[in-house]
Symmetry: C2
Amino acid sequence: MSQKNPGESPLGEFASAIAVKRESDTSFSAELDGEWSVAGAVNGGYLLSIVAQALRNNSPKAPDSLVLSTYYLGPSQGGRADIATRLIREGRSSATFAVDLSQNDAPTITALATMGNLAALPDDVATTASPPELPDPDQCIRVAEAPGDFIKSAPLVKRYDMRLDPETAGFAAGRPSGRGLLQGWIRLADGAEPDSLALLAFLDAFPPVMFDLGRFNWAPTMELTAHLRAVPAPGWIRAKLYTRNIAGGMFEEDCELWDSAGRLVAQSRQLARQPRG
Amino acid sequence: MSQKNPGESPLGEFASAIAVKRESDTSFSAELDGEWSVAGAVNGGYLLSIVAQALRNNSPKAPDSLVLSTYYLGPSQGGRADIATRLIREGRSSATFAVDLSQNDAPTITALATMGNLAALPDDVATTASPPELPDPDQCIRVAEAPGDFIKSAPLVKRYDMRLDPETAGFAAGRPSGRGLLQGWIRLADGAEPDSLALLAFLDAFPPVMFDLGRFNWAPTMELTAHLRAVPAPGWIRAKLYTRNIAGGMFEEDCELWDSAGRLVAQSRQLARQPRG
């Protein structure tokens, strides 16, 4: 269902932006695309997808990140990145890897991941959580239509079609709810259907949940751990983001992603530094 | 407030059990104590404390694990363990490390951590979460007084004074609530006050939350990420454990720890394999 313009790459925008090139048995390079940036640094969710893409290339039997823990050591910039993977343990149906991403020989990400095959998992589901109740996408607020200053500082938001539930978008009109909750819909702007790599990008694509607490700076992520739990069905993904513990100059941000079949397909928690001022 | 018996080590039971011995600038050894075991394997929470203890020894300015992501590669047993630490990045007030724990040259744990100084963090608190409401410890169920068969398979529970809220302990009488929720009180059995190392142990000390869903096997943890957010006040710690997404043969288990001053001092999420049968 990809909606491509004439002359565009046969890969969609997202697939092109997260492409990696093999450099050795264990290493890859990538060209980070500065259009996936926020506040002058390449977005952490986009980087998750690239790290997972490199791992997938070295883990054919277990191509999906069942769990991926990423530590952000410093900002990444558009341009070349080098990715080194190291197999730590290979099991029957899963494999655990360490992976480092560096630019100009300086590490900007270090991560651990256990890879598996989402499509081969048992299909039992006993989830007690409920998907967020959202108005139809047409009734929600398009983030890509935010004021020009906002888009300029966050070109990332144009890479997605993100629609915020008006109930949780008061911050955009200067009326944050104070609950620490954002909800909305997300899909790739290029029209490609979601896969496990896109889910990783979606987990850190929305504006920071701190906006709903009236704290409007972008917050640097220290660590983000993602759990991927099922192959997403085609269509819109529902997202729910919330924070409950703001203390010690840090906050946690939880994100849940629900697919169009009503399954909780991804969960993440990140620890971020609280913006000053 | 340590309650020691005559002839006991000047360190309490917990401090002795998590002691590490320096072997080189970057490596340590430890004697894992099989009394901290469940279902034939050394407990994952106890192992977190040992990993964090080794890191503390190599990070004097940033002694606390602000965030620790641990991947369990296989069961650990009582006996010698070797711990190798590697500094990845040192910042002004924090440092990120990789750490591996192995037994007989086989890795059983690989982890990443960002260390900091909890006592030096800003003291702003804007937490919106509320501590679990619990009856007094005397009105709760003492886990260490469980039937002999249970204790035999889980000697770990005698290392703690754990009291379960009767509202969430129906599983013990064969009447799990089906909510996927356990709540209770915890402190060290040796009477030592909680510190940041004990918090890590507490995060994975309670019976699996799956017991409340009528699934009574112990579940192997694949990954656990812990966030430590404040130095705990002396006294009992309140714990709340819950799961919301049981699917694909795995479940997540979230744990919150609240100190006697009402602060959310630690949060963790683990991904575990669902027990079969």
